[in-house]
């Protein structure tokens, strides 16, 4: 069990981090100094998980920067936490320790970590954890360590507690332990920490005896980013070894049919990849992360390869249109997957697909679902969410929902297919109206209009009746957000929840009728400030909903909604991209950070 002082030391380090977030920006020194030697030297070739933070000072700059401080200030709960008595007490403790070191905590921590931090997990029984912290100035590290040890002992003496830190000597080096689960030493001016004294001794032995190192391993060196411009953080894992060492943890259940149809190839890759790496970069206004998952040596299976685009093909570029909130753009040959469904899905899911086949046949004139419905739809799929022009709506719904649309390419060799889709659309609306007549739900009125020469088939809900004079008006139902509509434009089919979005999409597609493909299989975008705008528009409704869901009073519910809006504004413009080649699949997240206020 961690001793009191051990917990206090950990709490102190945590507190220091939090304090930096609240410290006045002007008091912070910029990161200076270089690494005093690679921490990875302390790890052996049997390392299965490796992570390094090459420029902690830069991370501190981000954590203490105006942007993050602005976000914390914009989130009422965090501002309250920083004002709480508990936090103030913590702050005093941190200042006490900093005072003993004749520095400020932010300067102190920067100095202690400016050479980088390395964390590794080595294959051993039990697994060996090694943390290496490289300071700017080894003498300062020694002084800081001595001060913390003295404080811990002083605290224990005052409380009549037993000696909190045990000392030992191993081959001339002093080792320290605060519990059976921790041991550390200062070696060559670096702090080396492990998960037991025995593990620490093994690390020391290897270091003194010049044993094999991780850095000598070509497998590692080939994957480590170029040293001239290392990322802020980088991590790597030998997934093949981890899978072998702990098969239970990696044994995944058979994915359900939905997950398989959406993510099939990537699920297989996660189960079979030999290694994976990740990097994170965070500049003043941009956050990016890249996860690379290697293809197994035998390559991808034939069935799963059907999920991926051939050379030169890829997901379409997001459609540019006003009020866009988010998009999902996907390359997917649905027909190829339909043909391989028996290899992909369990029998019960196949039964469901057989029903879908039969159901679709009813609407598509008794035709086969795959050949007659999926094949003419092409392989470039887009889902768009956009803000609606609520002011122009009559009636204006109380709950304001975005509009959604599916846009998919059409096979030019099947000119009759769009007409068939229009008939299906009208048939489905007819069925919906029949159901509505039985249940008393409001019916949809079918209609058509021409926009920029394109015919739109649409449907709108009847407006609610006017309330009687003595009757308080109810809210306009959320159904009035929807006016389902379809259109065909420039060889693309639009199925939209709203007539307004259909018009916007027609304009956008006519402006750029032949968009280039990206090199991604999947590309997703989200506009944080626009989504925050939607939250603001529905603020009152979300507050009330929060009260019912969480039992909050109005003030607490308002705080939650403000937090959500601030987080979305901070998200800025986010893009997530998945691309696949013969060697690996890569997931990249790129966020152009926004202003939380």
């Amino acid at each position: 069990m961690t001793s009191t002082i051990g917990r206090r030391a950990i709490a102190t380090i945590s507190a220091a981090t939090v304090l930096w977030l609240s410290a006045p920006r002007g008091t912070l020194a910029s990161a200076e100094g270089g690494p005093a030697g690679p921490g990875s030297d302390f790890l052996g070739p049997e390392t299965v998980v490796y992570a390094e933070l090459s420029r902690p000072g830069e991370l501190l700059d981000r954590l203490t920067g105006d942007r993050l401080r602005g976000l914390l200030n914009a989130i009422p709960a965090s501002a309250e936490a920083l004002d709480s008595p508990q936090f103030q007490e913590l702050r005093q403790l941190v200042e006490l320790i900093a005072g003993r070191l004749d520095t400020t905590w932010d300067d102190g921590l920067r100095s202690l970590t400016s050479g980088g931090i390395v964390l590794g997990v080595e294959e051993a029984d039990p697994p060996r954890l090694v943390l290496v912290v490289i300071p700017e100035d080894p003498a300062f590290l020694e002084r800081a360590h001595e001060t913390l040890v003295d404080l811990a002992r002083e605290d224990a003496r005052q409380k009549g507690a037993p000696e909190p830190i045990s000392e030992d000597n191993h081959r001339g080096l002093t080792t320290y332990s605060v519990s059976d689960e921790e041991a550390h030493a200062l070696i060559d001016g670096k702090l080396v920490l492990s998960n037991s004294l025995e593990a620490l001794r093994a690390v020391i032995d290897r270091h003194l005896d010049g044993g094999d190192r991780l850095t000598d391993s070509p497998f590692f060196s080939e994957r480590k980013p170029d040293g001239s411009e290392p990322p802020l953080a980088w991590a790597y894992a030998r997934v093949d070894r981890l899978r072998e060492l702990d098969p239970g943890r990696f044994a995944s259940e058979e994915p359900d049919a939905g997950a398989m149809l959406l993510l099939g190839a990537w699920l297989e890759l996660l189960q079979e990849t030999p290694w994976a790496s990740a990097r994170v970069d965070w500049s003043e206004d941009r956050l990016s992360a890249v996860l690379t998952v290697a293809t197994p040596p035998k390559g991808r299976s034939e069935v799963m390869a059907r999920f991926l685009p051939p050379e030169g093909a890829g997901a379409p570029h997001p459609i540019a249109l006003p009020g866009r909130l988010a998009t999902i753009n996907l390359w997917r040959d649905q027909m190829a997957l339909w043909e391989a469904r028996a290899d992909l899905l369990p029998p019960e899911a196949l039964q469901g697909l057989a029903q879908l086949d039969s159901f679709a046949g009813t609407f598509f004139g008794g035709r086969d679902f795959g050949d007659s419905v999926l094949a003419p739809l092409g392989d470039r799929w887009q889902l768009v969410a956009a803000m609606q022009d609520f002011d122009a709506m009559d009636p204006e719904p109380a709950l304001k929902l975005p509009a959604f649309a599916l846009v998919v390419g059409l096979d030019a060799d099947r000119p009759e297919f769009p007409q068939r889709l229009r008939v299906v659309f009208q048939s489905i609306l007819g069925l919906v109206n029949l159901g509505a007549a039985e249940t008393g739900a409001p019916p949809l009125m079918l209609g058509a209009e021409t926009h920029e020469g394109v015919t739109i088939s649409t449907a709108t809900f009847m407006a609610p009746p006017e309330p009687a004079d003595d009757e308080p008006a109810g809210e306009v139902h959320a159904r009035h957000n929807f006016s389902p509509s379809i259109a065909e434009v420039e060889g693309r089919f639009i199925l939209s929840s709203s007539l307004g979005l259909t018009r916007s999409l027609i304009d956008a597609i006519q402006d750029d009728p032949e968009p280039q493909s990206t090199d991604a299989t999947l590309l997703m975008t989200a506009d944080g400030p626009a989504l925050a705008g939607l939250v603001e528009l529905n603020r009152e409704r979300l507050v009330l909903q929060n009260m019912l869901e969480r039992g909050n009073d109005r003030t607490a519910a308002e705080r939650d909604v403000e937090t959500l809006a601030a987080l979305l504004r901070s998200l800025g413009q986010a893009t997530l991209r998945v691309s696949d080649d013969d060697d690996a699949s890569t997931l990249s997240l790129d966020v152009q950070l926004g202003d939380p206020r």
Partner: protein, 460 residues
């Protein structure tokens, strides 16, 4: 509930002698040396006229005496338990029901009403709304449209302590009621008898007070009723304006006139007052006609102002007779809301969406009574499934450490040295005999759990 314990353990064996003495029963309760204004009486007032109250509310009313306490119960508090002024709270709750409540269907409506009950500054009004919801039982399961149900309950709330005559006339035009009773289209040629039957049998007179002929004639007065797209319309072309004879009176009656005829029947006030007796006084004792008559007379004399008989009951000596305590089984909603209010689980309170599900498991889905007769109530609330659901709901409240700290509650009220005694005093007062009291011990959480799952706590 404790293993082996039965509900009978909590019910007093002897009926009150006042039940046989109407004059003494309905005279005002005046505290005396023998009948002091004590904690059990204050807690009984809140349990029956609202929901179980917090320790502070009990102590305040103990100090203020019965007059001021009952006035406050009848008029409501100036502010809700979330601190907002009563009028502002009502506006917020109306918005809650109109917005996410109605949009969430039955579950949303239930959650919004429970939220209102938990924080309400006027618990008696909510209890009476619940009374009328049971009386004019209408289920969303058939009505379908949540907004119509919301509007019906709003009507019940508006009239909950006001004019029953107005309520009766208005409910005949309530779209949810008409859909529920298949009475959305009643034409001159084919009068729909459903509403006419229920208005006599269930809403005003009770069985045996009318004939089939009365129903057929009254149904003609309700013709011309149409509900189109959730709105009531009167169609004069489909109204039968001929002469009708109902309960011995003849004329060209319409629906309002039928309501007046029903209200003029002495059996109407008696029928309603028997239900009020069962709601506020005892489900176990069958009141004699002589006991009910003074209440019924006062109700009729006030032109059916519901506040009059309710106030008469709450101020009566009978109401505060110890023999009347625990002669009702708490409904699931009374149990859940009362527990939350008494334990001050308010900021935040529980998710009322989850609470609504718990109430349904305990046997009471608001907005969805099982039949036109409402909930059976009384012992029917308790069976092996529902008692388990009650225990689970109580233990879930106690285990929610983010929302509730029993030690802190006892400590806040100066009882950290005796948390078991505190929870007994707060929740059941004098209900336990010495042998049971001996078993209420342990930490505050353990003691609270023992009290909340006891048979006595299931009773009101």
């Amino acid at each position: 509930m404790e293993a082996g314990a039965s509900l009978d353990r909590g019910i007093p064996m002897q009926s009150s002698p006042l039940l046989n003495d109407p004059d003494r029963a309905w005279c005002r309760f005046e505290p005396s040396g023998e009948e002091p204004w004590d904690l059990p009486r204050v807690a009984h007032l809140h349990r029956r006229a609202g929901f179980s109250a917090s320790w502070d509310a009990l102590q305040r009313d103990l100090g203020d005496g019965p007059e001021a306490s009952i006035d406050r119960i009848l008029d409501g508090e100036p502010s809700a338990l979330d601190g907002s002024p009563a009028a502002e709270f009502d506006r917020l709750m109306d918005a809650l029901a109109r917005g996410p409540g109605a949009a969430g269907g039955a579950a949303g409506l239930q959650a919004s009403w429970l939220y209102r009950m938990i924080h309400t500054p006027h618990p008696l009004r909510e209890r009476m709304t619940l009374f009328w919801h049971d009386h004019f039982a209408t289920s969303i399961e058939k009505v379908g449209d949540p907004d119509l149900m919301r509007r019906q309950v709003d009507l019940l709330r508006r009239c909950s302590l006001g004019s029953f005559a107005e309520l009766l006339r208005t409910i005949a035009r309530d779209p949810a009621m008409l859909i529920w009773l298949d009475a959305t289209e009643s034409k001159r040629q084919h009068p729909n008898e459903n509403y006419a039957r229920e208005v006599m049998e269930l809403f005003t007179l009770g069985r045996g007070q009318y004939t089939e002929r009365d129903i057929q004639e009254a149904a003609r007065a309700f013709t011309g009723t149409v509900v189109v797209r959730g709105r009531y319309r009167h169609d004069p072309r489909q109204f039968d304006d001929g002469e009708k004879t109902v309960l011995g009176r003849t004329g060209r009656f319409d629906g309002d006139a039928i309501a007046d005829i029903l209200l003029d029947q002495p059996s109407c006030a008696r029928f309603l007052c028997r239900k009020l007796f069962s709601w506020f006084v005892s489900e176990v004792d069958e009141p004699s006609d002589a006991l009910i008559e003074p209440l019924a007379l006062a109700y009729r004399d006030s032109d059916y102002d519901t506040r009059v008989p309710v106030a008469m009951i709450l101020r009566s000596r009978l109401f505060f007779d110890p023999a009347i305590r625990r002669r009702r089984v708490k409904s699931p909603v009374e149990f859940a809301v009362g527990t939350i209010r008494a334990l001050e689980i308010l900021a935040p309170t529980v998710s009322t969406q989850e609470l609504a599900e718990a109430c349904t498991r305990m046997g009471q889905a608001l907005y969805a009574p099982p039949s036109v007769a409402g909930w059976d109530g009384g012992p029917a609330w308790i069976n092996t499934a529902t008692i388990l659901a009650r225990s689970n709901a109580a233990l879930a409240l106690l285990d929610d450490r983010r929302r509730f700290d029993p030690e802190a509650l006892a400590s806040r009220h100066g009882r950290s040295d005796d948390p078991a005694g505190f929870f007994v005093d707060l929740l059941v007062q004098d209900a336990f005999g010495p042998d049971v009291l001996d078993r209420i011990r342990g930490s505050a959480r353990e003691a609270a759990a023992l009290v909340l799952t006891s048979p006595e706590y299931q009773l009101s």
